[in-house]
């Protein structure tokens, strides 16, 4: 298993520049062996999070006023970053197809509205989504599948692997996996780490891996920072706040800490990891607050769907209504957007 992790980590850092930076840092090299001691040593290096400070900074950034031309840009940017999501027990093929149509043309009356970042569905709806997207000109829109016994993550590794493989074979090009929060909280970091490594291996070049930390269950911001670094060390392409099934979900301080984590990771390794807040982002105001957080914490480079996504469903309608307001000068109403 040791060689496995090593070879995987090597592949991850195939960029020559990052290789150099990579070897300069002692703890990173030690991390490569994947043992409990090495993971603990790596995470111990992380400073604690000043919770009051993080909350105050997030609240301060939330007071930014974004108007007119900047707001228009922010709305289009947010639309292109949405992972349009339906994760209900009551999902049908019809609902998934309707969602895909909306993903390609969010506002049928206005072709200048950009397509969304991705469609996010349960495993068994991936094929339906892929097929429908391809048939209506949405080839460029990836389909993300939630995987590894989402949302609880309570299944054996074999089942989680099979779950992921199933999604990949159906055409998913993004995998949203959940970490084992129970293992994380009880200190079994190796289990969390190796699970991510195995799933990343399955994804290979076929799919992007997003690792869901479910911050609502991690209790403290210190844990959020640790879990973020753990996930990145194990090979995550994205770190994601929540499943959307638990409240609180993507609160501003949590997103702030995760953005700091990817910023620090970039400084250490030269690799940019993406961030995806999900759950509880329902209004344009919420979305713009997230963009301000990104710009002021990780930097402008992260303001792209490649590095920042917003997991949401109701948000899109509010963004469209605000866009209509900017376009026509009238306040729009929920009667003028689709029911999801």
């Amino acid at each position: 298993m040791l060689t496995k992790i090593f070879s995987f980590t090597r592949a991850m850092h195939s960029n020559p520049f990052s290789w150099q930076t990579f070897f300069r840092y002692n703890f990173d090299v030690q991390l490569v062996d994947g043992t409990d001691a090495s993971i603990r040593r790596f995470l111990k290096e992380l400073p604690g999070v000043d919770q009051v400070g993080a909350e105050a900074r997030a609240a301060m950034l939330a007071t930014r006023s974004i108007k007119t031309a900047s707001k228009k840009w922010a709305i289009d940017c947010a639309i292109s970053m949405i992972d349009l999501t339906t994760l209900e027990g009551s999902d049908t093929d019809g609902k998934v197809r309707a969602l895909c149509t909306k993903a390609v043309h969010p506002d049928p009356t206005d072709p200048s509205v950009p397509s969304v970042g991705a469609i996010c569905v349960y495993n068994d709806k991936v094929a339906t989504a892929r097929k429908h997207l391809d048939s209506i000109g949405g080839q460029a829109i990836p389909v993300a599948a939630v995987s590894t016994a989402f949302p609880s993550g309570r299944a054996s590794l074999e089942v989680k692997k099979q779950d992921t493989l199933d999604a990949l074979n159906n055409g998913a090009t993004e995998i949203d996996m959940v970490i084992d929060r129970g293992a994380f909280l009880s200190g079994d970091l190796v289990k969390v780490f190796t699970e991510i490594v195995y799933i990343k291996e399955l994804c290979g070049d076929r799919a992007h891996l997003k690792v869901i930390l479910e911050t609502g269950e991690l209790v403290t911001l210190d844990n959020v920072r640790k879990a973020s670094h753990l996930a990145m060390a194990a090979g995550a392409d994205f770190i994601k706040t929540s499943t959307g099934k638990i409240s609180p979900a993507a609160t501003a301080p949590v997103v702030l800490v995760m953005l700091e984590a990817v910023r620090d990771w970039y400084a250490m390794t030269g690799i940019r990891i993406g961030v995806k807040p999900a759950g509880g982002i329902r209004t344009t105001k919420d979305a713009i607050k997230q963009l301000v957080l990104v710009r002021e914490t990780a930097g402008e480079e992260w303001l792209t769907p490649k590095l920042f996504r917003i997991g949401a469903s109701a948000l899109l309608n509010d963004l469209l209504m605000q866009r209509m307001k900017l376009r026509n000068g009238n306040y729009a109403g929920p009667n003028y957007v689709t029911l999801d």
Binding site: N330, Y331, A332, G333, N335
Partner: protein, 279 residues
């Protein structure tokens, strides 16, 4: 000697009493041009928030039984009765009329609540019908609420015009966004405090104080407002509201008469149901 504890006149949106989002206030004066108070000056965003609150409250309010709505309207009358002294003083101060005249106006306003309260569960019986048709169907027509109604009350009186505009709108199961008379906003604020203690669900009535000419065009063009009572608007503002309101086919009415069931029916639309006989 005790320092005056003065009331802050605030907006009423979604069952809460916020200041204006804009932070603005404006000055109102009594009949003799003496300063009275600084009520909140609502902005277009306060209006937008009020419409969102009204839309959110609509399902619960028009889904409530007509009898329940009737009880709540009567409760408003009871609560007003208990605070009638305050209304009398505000009317006397604002309009510069005698306390006797002011008291008469308050009594009329309270009676208007009771009168419309009685109409809640009778309006569909009186205005609805079963229709003769040649086919194996029961065919009947019932009036239903139109939705969110913007109200610009008559501003000849400080209180009565306001009550005569709000009561019929909510009696029919609509929710309301009221832009109080610019000259006489105090009674509207006190009325909102009455409503907040009358079992009226938050958001069913939202009351904004401010500059009518600033808010009216936004009400007219708002795509989520279904109808407007334009009684208190000037000719020019009414025209503007009618032009922008055409975009989503708002029903826009002006009333010259006071209490009549026609004021309820103006904000209701008819639904006709065909029900097969024998099933």
């Amino acid at each position: 000697m005790r320092i005056d504890i003065r009331k802050t006149y605030k907006l009423y949106i979604g069952g809460a009493f916020p200041r204006s989002e804009s932070g603005r206030t404006y000055e109102i004066k009594d009949a003799k041009s003496n300063f009275i108070a600084n009520p909140a000056q609502a902005s277009r965003k306060d209006l937008r928030d009020a419409v969102t609150a009204a839309r959110g409250a609509l399902g619960g309010w028009n889904g409530a039984t007509a009898f329940n709505r009737s009880q709540i309207l009567y409760r408003i009358a009871e609560m007003m009765e208990a605070r009638s002294e305050e209304f009398v003083e505000e009317i006397a101060l604002l309009e510069g009329v005698s306390k006797v005249a002011a008291k008469k106006q308050v009594e009329q306003a309270i009676d208007a609540w009771v009168w419309y309260s009685g109409w809640c569960d009778k309006i569909s019986t009186v205005a609805g019908s079963t229709n003769p048709i040649s086919g194996p169907f029961y065919n009947f027509t019932v009036p239903e609420s139109v939705g969110v109604v913007g109200i610009f009350p008559a501003h000849k009186s400080a209180l009565l015009g306001l009550v005569q505009a709000i009561a019929p709108v909510i009696a029919g199961g609509n929710t309301a966004v009221v832009v109080a008379s610019q000259k006489f906003p105090l009674c509207a604020v006190t009325l909102s405090e009455v409503m907040a203690t009358s079992d009226l669900p938050g958001g069913v009535v939202n009351i904004l104080t401010g500059i009518t000419s600033e808010l009216a065009p936004w009400m007219g063009s708002h795509m989520d407002v279904d109808a407007i009572d334009a009684t208190g608007l000037s000719k020019e503002l009414e025209k503007e509201v009618r032009v922008t309101g055409a975009d989503n086919l708002k029903r826009i009415h002006k009333f010259s008469t006071s209490d009549t069931p026609q004021r309820i029916l103006a904000f209701m639309e008819y639904k006709t149901v065909w029900h097969p006989i024998g099933i």
